[in-house]
Amino acid sequence: MSTTNTKVGRVGISLITGSDTEAAVEHVQETQPDATISFRDVFYKIECDGGLSFDMAAISEIAGRDIDTDIFLVNMSTYYGRIVVGDGRIDLHSEIKPERFQD
């Protein structure tokens, strides 16, 4: 059995439906218009070829309150791709071995 080739190189994240997530979704719509956003009632599944990035300062601005990486992760149910949590940002990489894992 083979997998769906169109999805190779894609990453995805599932965020629990709520006000924090609505701000993150708006952020993706503004900054990564190629991303596919699928609303599944109790969560959003956001997928994009090549990678996804979430900037906490920008999401906080939209939400009108501080959302740091810890609070973002409270809302993140799952993901696929290679995740890296950094300073004020969360990135999902499609490469199997992103820079942090190179050495």
Binding site: S14, D41, V74, S77, I83
Partner: protein, 500 residues
């Protein structure tokens, strides 16, 4: 103190030390070579972890409180909560098996970053157990029929459906500690929990159970970190070429076993535990397991020599039918259940045939017959219509009627002087490869061979407070419930199909 997470995480690592007062060598031996260097993608620090988990708990408990205030439970689809009497305790079993598993893993992993990641995971698994017990407390206090919730913990160690989970989740803390990582973090938590804890809450929302929705999604937010622990460990193992054959064999073994058990149980809960289904289980499996897990993860590791499970195609075929067959068997043994079963009826028939063409020919006649026998006044149960009890698979503990009775792949064979039943080629391969791990289990029918069904029910403690009425019933709505006297009058004797 640095304000940067990256800097602080790096600085924290400088505080590592070697033991001088105790033996630091792992308690459990491993066949793998584990390099000391490894990375935690989440850069977990206890300070941040505690803040995050406290926020998660506050949010989840607030929703359970709100559900109580609004009496939301009165609006939940009964099939959903009845099926949960089996599957939620099964899940709790997974959590506390994983607590012990993390202890083994921490002792075996030398990378400081990954040890920290697994330490957080161990606390997560305790948190999940507590959250699920809160949810079970909510059901036992507020659900219209609390019977079964009060028996579910001991019952899963004796009931065939519970033993499926016991068999599956023992892999979290049994054998080679690094194989435990493959079973727990790489296969189960990355491939299969997404359907259980992310997709299934959508079905729960349609069934009206918001407390379940929020609890499961919050639990899965921790699983996301566990997936990263698995990824970090996998990359570490792949740095040593000698690990590759062990890793591929472990992946093959645990993918097959997890597929057999999780797909049957979660598929049954999500389609037979409701009347309003948002999707077919098979469609979810193709998305979360085939595309997201295999396509975007395991296949991407092929450049390092990792092989996708060779039985993926067989598993995909199984997923079409296995949970329907489990539903058939669980309903046939309803007197032994600690929940109320329910008959599938006309609207269900239409949905199943639309989503699984061929379903009607295989299953509709069974369900019509099942419903006709539901009234205790008829003095007959479906078990009496069957030629015998199905053998239980020595490996996955599912009945050997899989994936569907008329195309079942059951096999009985001799190994080391004893006869065994397996449900599939994959399970036979596992038993023959690891006979010491699976060969000693005693199956449920063997224990009760020659017993009257009524005595087996009494031994399992499956009566309500009046001492006569069964907890298990064949329908959600009964004019008169079955009693132990009704069962005794059947004169049904348990016969182990493997006896003699």
């Amino acid at each position: 103190m640095p304000s940067s997470l990256v800097q602080l995480h790096e600085k924290t690592k400088s505080y590592d030390w070697d033991y001088t007062f105790a033996d630091q060598s792992p308690k459990y031996e491993t066949k793998y070579k584990m390099p000391k260097k490894g990375k935690d993608p989440f850069r977990v620090l206890i300070r941040d972890y505690v803040k995050m988990e406290a926020e998660k708990d506050d949010r989840t408990h607030s929703i359970i409180d709100g559900a109580i205030r609004a009496n939301e439970i009165s609006g939940i689809e009964p099939r959903f909560v009845e099926c949960l009497k089996l599957t939620l305790p099964d899940l709790t079993n997974a959590e506390f098996q994983a607590v012990a598993g993390c202890g083994m893993i921490i002792s075996a992993v030398q990378s400081q970053e990954l040890r920290q990641g697994y330490a957080a995971q161990m606390l997560d698994e305790v948190r999940h157990t507590q959250l699920e017990m809160s949810l079970r407390n909510y059901y036992v206090k507020h659900w219209q029929d609390p019977y079964g919730w009060d028996r579910s913990q001991p019952a899963i160690y004796k009931h065939p459906g519970g033993l499926v989970s016991i068999g599956e989740f023992q892999h979290f803390n049994t054998g080679d500690p690094l194989d435990c990582i493959i079973a727990l973090n790489v296969v189960l938590e990355t491939a299969f929990t997404n359907i259980l804890l992310v997709a299934s809450p959508q079905a729960a929302m349609m069934a009206g159970d918001n407390a379940f929705v929020s609890t499961m999604l919050s639990i899965q937010s921790d699983e996301a970190r566990h997936m990263a622990n698995g990824y970090g460990s996998l990359m570490q193992l792949l740095a040593e070429e000698d690990n590759l054959p062990h890793l591929n064999q472990s992946l093959e073994r645990h993918f097959w076993h997890s597929h057999k058990t999780l797909d049957a149980l979660v598929g049954w809960q999500s389609e037979y535990g409701t009347k309003n289904r948002p999707w077919s289980y098979k469609s979810q499996w193709e998305e979360w397991v085939v595309d997201d897990f295999v396509g975007n993860y395991i296949d991407r590791l092929s450049e390092f020599g990792v092989q996708a499970p060779s039985r993926l195609g067989v598993a995909a075929d199984d997923v079409t039918w296995a949970h329907h067959t489990l539903g058939q068997v669980l309903s046939a043994v309803w007197p032994l259940n600690f929940w109320r079963s329910d008959a599938m009826v006309a609207p269900d028939f239409e949905w199943f045939e639309n989503h699984y063409p061929g379903w009607s020919a295989a299953y509709q006649g069974y369900w019509e017959g099942y419903k006709a026998l539901a009234d205790p006044a008829g003095g007959h149960i479906m078990l009496q219509e069957l030629p015998g009890l199905p053998p239980i698979c020595q490996v996955c503990q599912l009945p050997c009627t899989m994936p569907r009775l008329d195309i079942n792949e059951a096999r009985i064979f001799e190994l080391n002087g004893r006869n065994y039943a397996c449900c599939s080629e994959g399970c036979e391969w596992i038993l023959r490869t690891w006979p010491e791990a699976y060969g000693h289990r005693r199956q449920v029918w063997e224990k009760y061979h020659g017993w009257d069904l009524a005595d087996m029910i009494l031994d399992l403690g499956l009566l309500r407070r009046d001492g006569r009425t069964l907890i298990g019933q064949p329908l959600i709505e009964m004019e008169r419930m079955w009693t132990i006297d009704d069962i005794r009058a059947l004169g049904y004797e348990i016969k182990d199909p493997m006896h003699g």
